[in-house]
Symmetry: none
Subunit: 219 residues, 2 copies
Amino acid sequence: MEELTKKQRAILDYMKAHVSEHSYWPSIRDIQAKFRFASTNAVFGHLQALERKGVLQRIPGAARAYKIVPEVLGDTSETVIRYEGPGDDAIAFENVKFAGSIAAGFPDYTESSGVLDSLQVPLSPSSRRRAPESFALRVRGDSMIDADINDGDTVIVEPGTPKHGDIVAALIDGETTLKRLIKQGSKVYLKAENQNYPDLIPTTSLTIQGIAKSVMKRI
Amino acid sequence: MEELTKKQRAILDYMKAHVSEHSYWPSIRDIQAKFRFASTNAVFGHLQALERKGVLQRIPGAARAYKIVPEVLGDTSETVIRYEGPGDDAIAFENVKFAGSIAAGFPDYTESSGVLDSLQVPLSPSSRRRAPESFALRVRGDSMIDADINDGDTVIVEPGTPKHGDIVAALIDGETTLKRLIKQGSKVYLKAENQNYPDLIPTTSLTIQGIAKSVMKRI
DNA sequence: ATGTTCTATGAAAACTTGTTCACTGTCAAG
DNA sequence: CTTGACAGTGAACAAGTTTTCATAGAACAT
C-alpha cells in the first residue's frame, strides 16, 4: 500500500479520534480548523489522497460521511507451506451464544435484536467448565479503552454476583453497557475506563447481566 | 423515562442500525425515504421527540451528527443489583449449548518446557484428526509480547494459507511456536514480536499448524 | 531545465441538510 | 365540546458542506 504522508496520517488519526469521541464524523471545516488551514481545499486534497491510497472511503455528496478501510499488510507471493492441523493437545471448544452488541462509547447500535452467531470460545483448562449461562457480547465503542477492551472485541460474560472492581455488563436504558463496578459504602457506581468520559455514573437500580471474565480480540 | 412511541422506537432503531452498518449517521432525508414520509418535517418532529425524551442528542446545525444518550438513573438511597441474564431476548439466555463432548480429556498445561525463548505451546504433532478446524492454544512465554500476546493468553488458531504478516503457529524442532510470518521474495522467515529476541529466524522447511486469528485474555 | 507531486491559498459554485412556517387530521382525556 | 398531545403534508428558507476552479511555491526526480 502506498504510504501516507505525515499530514495525511495526522488527519486520518484526528478523524478517527473525533468519531470515537463524538460519535459522528468531523466536517471538512472541522478538520480545517483543527489544523489551521486557511482553505477547506487543503483538507479536501488530503481526503482525496486518503481515499486514493485506500484507507478512507468517502461518500460523495454526503456530509460527515466516511468509512475507514482497515489497513492490511500487502504481499501475495506464494510459498509452499504444509498444513498439519491441531494436535492432541489443542484446547477444546465450547459454544457460547452471541447475545448481541454492547454499547460502550460510540457506535453500539447493532443492539441485541436476536441472536446472531454462536461464537466458538475456548474452554480454559483452569476452569474446566464455564457456567452454562455464559454468553458473548461484541464490544462497540471505546469507553473501556483504558482497560484494554476496545471496539470490535468480544467479551465473555458469566453470571454471578459482581464484586467491587469487576467489569460488568449492565443494562441501562435498554442497552447493555460495559463498565467497571464501583462500590463506595452503600452506593454503587458505574465507571467507564476512558479518561474522556465522565468518571462515575450513579445508579439506584441496576440490572447486571453478568461479569466480563475474558476478552477476545481479533489479531 | 418517558416511553417512546412505536414510530419513535423504529426510527431510533433505524438510526442505530444505519450507523452500525455504514459508520455514519443517516440524514433526515434518509430516514424520510426509509419510512416513506412525504415530508422531512415528519422526521424532524420525531427527532425532536427523541431528544426531548432524552434518548438522542442532536448536534444543532451539524449534519448527520447525533449521539445516543444512555439514560442516567437518578441517585439517592439504596442500590439494588439484580441479576437478569443476557438481554432482553430470552433466546440468548436459553440457547447456550455445549458443542462437543470433547470436554473430557484435557491435556495438562501446567508444566511444559520452561524455556522462555520462544512461545512454547505444547501441541503434540501426533495423529492428525478430523477435518481441519480451528483450535485453541495456551500461550507460554513472551516472544509475542509486542503483538500484545502474553503468557497465559489463549490464541485461536485457524487453518488456512498464511499471508505475509500473519501470526502463525509453526512447528519448529518438534515444538509449536507462535511467530509472525515474514515473506521476502521467495524466502520465508519467522519473527518474534519481542525486541529482546533475534529479529528473523530463517526457515527452510516449515510446517504451519494454522494462523492465529484471535487472542483471548482473562480480565 | 522541466515536469510531477505535494501542499496550500482564496473564492465561488453547487449541493445537502437542518430548520421553520402554515395547515390538516386523529385520538384520548378533562 | 374543547383541549392538548401526537402524527403528518407541503413548501420554502437558511445554514452547513462538499466540490470545483484558478493559482502558486517547494521539493524532487528525469
